[in-house]
């Protein structure tokens, strides 16, 4: 179900009503049933995939949990130290095996789904009429990219005794399938999410209004800015002439704006929806374009993804005994700064390669991962190198340096994100080459042929300025405080106006250029 469809809004409205009408101890069940229904609408493959992941993860983490219990019991029971350490080592190995099984199963499913087409092709099962498997798996399971990683994170946490395993299978499943997070994420952590997810919630009018406004803000970004500029992008995609010279850079700029408004808009809708249920999700975007370097950018963009890889892969990898020994040996070999941090750079590159693969298993995503990794390493290295000098440290405190860093980061991000748009790394490179060397047609002419009228460009510009202003106000919490002080009537009116703005200026419905279409007919 599309996040911006009337169907989704109706679905949320119905679930919300039931949620606040039933007894408070039943609220999590309402969420579970509606989430299962939501996944069910996506087809049988979605339901099968999530049931399998949920059952496997639940069963195996319960086993780990039992071993953990034995661990704490043995601390008090056994007498000799050697006995304790032998048994504890055995338990440790068993836990590791179980964890490997969980991670393995989850990753296998994830990769198999991502590689569905080449897999079925290889097995000669890609014939629609003959292969039931092909037909069954024709729609990819909803939310797989998110709940697989939520499951793995949970299992690792349980193994590390961060918290005990969830005994209730249904409650555990809810953690994986909570419906708002199935379409665009975010990737949640077990403790923070379930602290709110399983609890009863009272009807809070103000919170509902704030949630609704956040949802409308997301719709505003998506349907008015992102979907509108997407029209221009599609026109440029279909015409090679519109991607050379200056126009290539305009294409890149439009794309980054579309990507931000679409992705963060979707997240706004989700965060808005969940807060209407009284559940607070972790933010996935925190003013990413204020970043002064690529490393910071990835702490502000798609935060939960970077955070997950950092906590569950990066830290364990870079602090593994193998890496630490490597670092020690490197330091002994040479005294230059690079060598004592080589293990950090290598781990970073590995992480970024994996993050690239999470997005997609193809050359452009692998290249994207590696490029981002290299950029992050480069910024880490130059920072640590130059920080030794006092003059550099004082420059970094100046406003000019900050503005330049922000601008440079923005340009780098724009160029690298563009990889998303091309099928392969080679295509990307040739397009980039066209951007530098190509002769472009008249820019103003081109802009007027992208399917958007002048008034629409003005509308988009106005909206972008509005988004920036709202960002500043939200950051300072001015908006929040002011909204709380407003009378209920004024708050409702603001919501009304927002709804009408989206209805009038949103991009939806038949032949978006309705009037042109109709008038053009005659």
């Amino acid at each position: 179900m599309n996040l911006t469809s009337i169907g989704f809004i109706l679905f949320v409205a119905i679930v919300l009503t039931i949620y606040y009408v039933v007894g408070k101890h039943l609220q999590w069940m309402v969420l579970l049933l509606s989430s299962v229904g939501f996944i069910g609408l996506s087809g049988p493959f979605s339901v099968i995939a999530v049931s399998f992941v949920s059952a496997a993860t639940y069963g195996l983490t319960m086993a780990i949990d039992r071993i953990n219990a034995q661990d704490s019991l043995s601390q008090t029971q056994l007498s000799t130290v050697t006995d304790r350490s032998v048994l504890s080592a055995r338990r440790h190995t068993r836990k590791n095996l179980l964890l490997t099984a969980i991670v393995g199963i989850n990753l296998l499913i994830f990769i198999a789904v991502r590689l569905r087409d080449p897999l079925l092709l290889g097995l000669h099962l890609n014939n629609e009429t003959d292969s039931m498997l092909y037909r069954l798996t024709s729609t990819l399971p909803l939310g797989l990219s998110f709940y697989v990683f939520q499951a793995i994170g949970y299992a690792i946490d349980v193994k590390n005794k961060k918290y005990p395993a969830e005994r209730n299978f249904l409650k555990f499943t809810l953690y994986l399938v909570f419906f708002p997070c199935l379409t665009v994420g975010p990737i949640n952590r077990f403790e923070p999410l379930t602290a709110a997810l399983y609890q009863p919630h009272c009807f809070d009018g103000l919170q509902l209004q704030k949630g609704l406004l956040r949802l409308l803000y997301g719709l505003f970004k998506k349907t008015i800015v992102a979907d509108r500029l997407l029209i221009a992008l599609r026109v440029m995609d279909s015409n090679q002439e519109l991607q050379t010279g200056w126009l290539f850079w305009i294409y890149a700029l439009i794309y980054i704006i579309v990507l931000y408004c679409d992705f963060s808009g979707g997240i706004d809708i989700i965060v808005g929806v969940t807060s209407m249920f009284g559940i607070k999700l972790e933010e996935n975007f925190l003013y990413p374009f204020y970043s002064k370097n690529i490393a910071e950018f990835w702490r502000r963009w798609h935060i939960t993804l970077g955070g997950w890889f950092r906590d569950y892969v990066y830290y364990p990898l870079v602090l593994s005994s193998f890496m630490l020994r490597f670092a020690k040996r490197m330091k002994k070999i040479s005294k230059i700064l690079l060598s004592s941090q080589l293990h950090i750079y290598l781990s970073t590159l590995v992480i970024w390669l994996l993050i690239g693969l999470w997005h997609g298993i193809s050359s452009n995503y692998i290249a994207w991962g590696i490029i981002n990794g290299v950029l992050v390493i480069f910024s880490m290295y130059t920072d640590s190198r130059l920080k030794q000098y006092g003059w550099f440290r004082s420059i970094t405190k100046t406003k000019l340096y900050n503005y330049c860093s922000i601008a440079l980061t923005f340009i780098l991000v724009t160029i690298t994100m563009l990889l998303d748009r091309f099928g392969s790394f080679r295509e990307y490179l040739s397009a980039l080459h066209g951007g530098f060397t190509g002769q472009s047609i008249d820019v103003l002419d081109a802009l007027s042929s992208l399917g958007l009228s002048l008034s629409e460009y003005i509308l988009v510009a106005f909206c972008l300025i509005l988004i920036i202003i709202i960002g500043i106000l939200v950051r300072r919490e001015t908006l929040d405080r002011w909204f709380k002080k407003c009378s209920p009537l004024l708050r409702f009116l603001i919501i009304d106006v927002s709804v009408m703005v989206i209805v009038v200026f949103g991009v939806y419905g038949i032949g978006f250029d309705a009037a042109q279409f109709i008038y053009g007919q005659f």
Partner: protein, 76 residues
């Protein structure tokens, strides 16, 4: 000066390490600096901080880091 204090003052020569309690919140200590610190502690001072302990609460101030180290030493 403790091992952690010495490493931190080397990483951040301009900072008053002892009195700062927003190392993580203000973005001073990012993952790169944390790992550098933890690596040095492990390789040069035999203080092993496991990956599971790398959470904001443990690294927001020098005091927090030192209490973490003390806790780990006591556990083993």
């Amino acid at each position: 000066m403790s091992a952690a204090a010495e490493i931190l003052s080397r990483l951040f020569p301009d900072l008053d390490i002892a009195n700062c309690d927003r190392l993580i919140d203000d973005g001073l200590l990012d993952s790169f600096s944390i790992i550098t610190l933890v690596t040095e502690l492990a390789n040069d001072h035999s203080i092993k901080i496991p990956a599971t302990e790398i959470i904001p609460e443990n690294f927001n101030s020098l005091t927090a880091i030192e209490s973490l180290i003390d806790k780990l030493i006591n556990q083993s």
